[in-house]
């Protein structure tokens, strides 16, 4: 248990009276890439936001580095170095690309900003070209890169990615996934991502979970899930074959 970076245990989350998560159990170990696949509305994004305390879980617990963060305010969770590229990307529309990246680095008061921003620009050269442009004027793919770049600027111990492939051209998805893999292999970055694009996500991940209607129904290594007939039938068939 001690190499667990994140442990989500029996978490139930509600929006008003509607239960969005019904007892979710997820573990992410240091240095892993873990994915959660599932259909639209299964509760994947709710899980991501619940980890960050917005909304907070009604029952169950979220533990990060052995510390219970279930009732912690969102900004304090962020300060533990959990960075998220959330659903809908949530770029600050009236800030420049550069300022959006500065926001990502605000935990350290921009101490490592110059060094880190160069890395982001190497990873996503497009952002460098667009650095003085307002976030709201970027294309969907550029916003996705910015959202991931902004999360990376926080020097996260855990990177949460909500549908990094959503709405992007396959070539860009490939680029983004390659970048994630590289960060994981070279810098040991721990990543937890949720995806509808099951094939690409499972291929990238060490382990995966399947979520249906707010519950985890299956888990296993990326390879196992890829080979699993049920997963194939529900999420893969007709997609990439």
């Amino acid at each position: 248990m001690s190499d667990n970076l994140l442990h989500v245990k029996d978490v139930e989350t509600y929006y008003g009276n509607i239960r969005a998560l019904g007892g979710v159990e997820v573990e992410v170990k240091r240095g892993e890439i873990v994915c959660m696949i599932g259909a639209n509305g299964a509760g994947k994004s709710t899980l991501m936001m619940t980890i960050c305390g917005s909304p907070q879980a009604r029952t169950g617990s979220v533990t990060f580095e052995g510390q219970d963060i279930t009732r912690m305010p969102t900004h304090e969770i962020a300060r533990l170095r959990i960075a998220q590229s959330p659903e809908g990307r949530r770029i600050f529309p009236r800030m420049t690309v550069y300022e959006n990246l500065q926001m990502g680095a605000s935990l350290d008061n921009l101490k490592y900003f110059n060094e880190d921003v160069e890395k982001i620009f190497t990873l996503f050269p497009r952002l460098k070209e667009r650095q003085s442009q307002r976030g709201g004027t970027l294309s969907g793919g550029e916003q996705q890169m910015l959202s991931i770049g902004r999360a990376l600027m926080a020097r996260p111990k855990l990177l949460l990615l909500d549908e990094p492939s959503l709405g992007l051209a396959p070539l860009i998805v490939k680029g983004i996934f390659a970048a994630i893999k590289k960060l994981n292999e070279e810098e040991g970055l721990t990543v937890f991502l949720v995806e509808q694009n099951a094939f690409a996500a499972l291929k990238l991940s060490h382990r995966g979970y399947v979520m249906v209607n707010g519950k985890v129904t299956m888990s296993g290594s990326g390879r196992e899930l890829l080979a699993n007939p049920e997963v194939r039938a529900a999420y893969l068939e007709g997609g990439h074959h």
Partner: protein, 300 residues
């Protein structure tokens, strides 16, 4: 021509005061989408704080240099008024955050009444005069410019520059803008949203306190109802310039100051408020979001 320029100078002075108050309206509106109707009374409170500080200083030190006295007045008024607004936000507005939109608005109106009554009860209902602190008047090419006017315009310009720098080029300003644009995302990046909103209220109040001090010095008198009219004018300025926009608030303030003084100079003074609000109405018909305001629709 000289008469016209003279009116420009007067209008600029008045407009500076409006602009300083308008910033408080526009910032609070920008960050939590609420019109803080008590802001005019915060301005009035700042004037009273400055007056009290003046009386204390004169009582203690007698012939204290005017420049030093003014500096201390502004500083203490800023701190005291900022503290007031911090408490008001925490106690009256924060608990209502997330409830329906009218709730904080009504609370703000109540707070406005409470503040002016509080001053009426504690300071008395009569006009409170302050001896003329600076009385030099300079003659520049036939236009008389008083030292008071110079002080007001210079102090305003300096404060606005500092303020503009804070909002656009410091981590605090970035956090404020981030909170304004997407509160949830700001929190995900480690911004303490509650604290940022508190600081915004404190900053707005501090500028209003400076405006209050300037107003007191300029007119030489203050009374508990003085929050209302300048407050409404400054709110008008914020709307005219485009509520939520900082340069808009300053521009709107200057415009209203100029309209008032020019109208008073060439037409009947009784109708100066009619003129001001007519122009507001006309501008809003053609540009509903104000002169520098952004349209509500945004690319998602």
């Amino acid at each position: 021509m000289e008469y016209f320029v003279q009116q420009l100078v007067n209008g600029l002075t008045l407009g500076s005061i409006y602009g300083l108050i308008a910033i408080g309206y526009t910032m609070v509106y920008g960050i939590i989408g609420m019109v803080n109707f008590a802001h005019g009374d915060i301005f009035m409170l700042g004037g009273f704080a400055a007056l009290i500080v003046y009386l204390v200083l004169v009582g203690l030190f007698g012939g204290i240099p005017i420049a030093l006295a003014l500096f201390i007045m502004i500083l203490v008024a800023m701190v005291m008024t900022g503290l007031w607004n911090w408490v008001i936000e925490k106690m009256a507005y924060r608990p209502l955050r997330g409830s329906f939109r009218l709730a904080p608005l009504i609370t703000a109106i109540g707070m406005s009444i409470a503040l002016s009554n509080f001053i009426q009860v504690t300071q008395g209902p009569r006009n409170k005069p302050i001896p003329s602190m600076v009385s030099s008047v300079y003659d520049v090419f036939g236009i008389s410019i008083s030292l008071k006017q110079i002080i007001i315009v210079v102090v305003t310009a300096v404060l606005l520059t500092i303020f503009w720098y804070i909002v656009n080029h410091t981590p605090l300003g970035r956090a404020q803008r981030a909170t304004e644009q997407d509160r949830k995302m700001a929190a995900l990046l480690g911004v303490d949203v509650d604290k940022t909103i508190s600081i915004t209220f404190i900053m707005g109040a501090a500028l209003a306190a400076v405006a209050g001090t300037m107003y007191l010095m300029y007119y030489g008198v203050i009374v508990f109802t003085d929050g209302f009219t300048p407050g409404v004018k400054a709110f008008t300025a914020a709307v005219l310039g485009g509520i939520g926009s900082l340069p808009g608030a300053v521009l709107g303030g200057l415009m209203i100051g100029l309209i008032e003084s020019l109208w008073s100079a060439y037409f009947t003074i009784d109708y100066k408020d009619v003129a001001t609000f007519s122009i507001l109405a006309i501008v809003l018909i053609f540009k509903p979001s104000g002169i520098l305001g952004r349209p509500e629709v945004e690319k998602v």
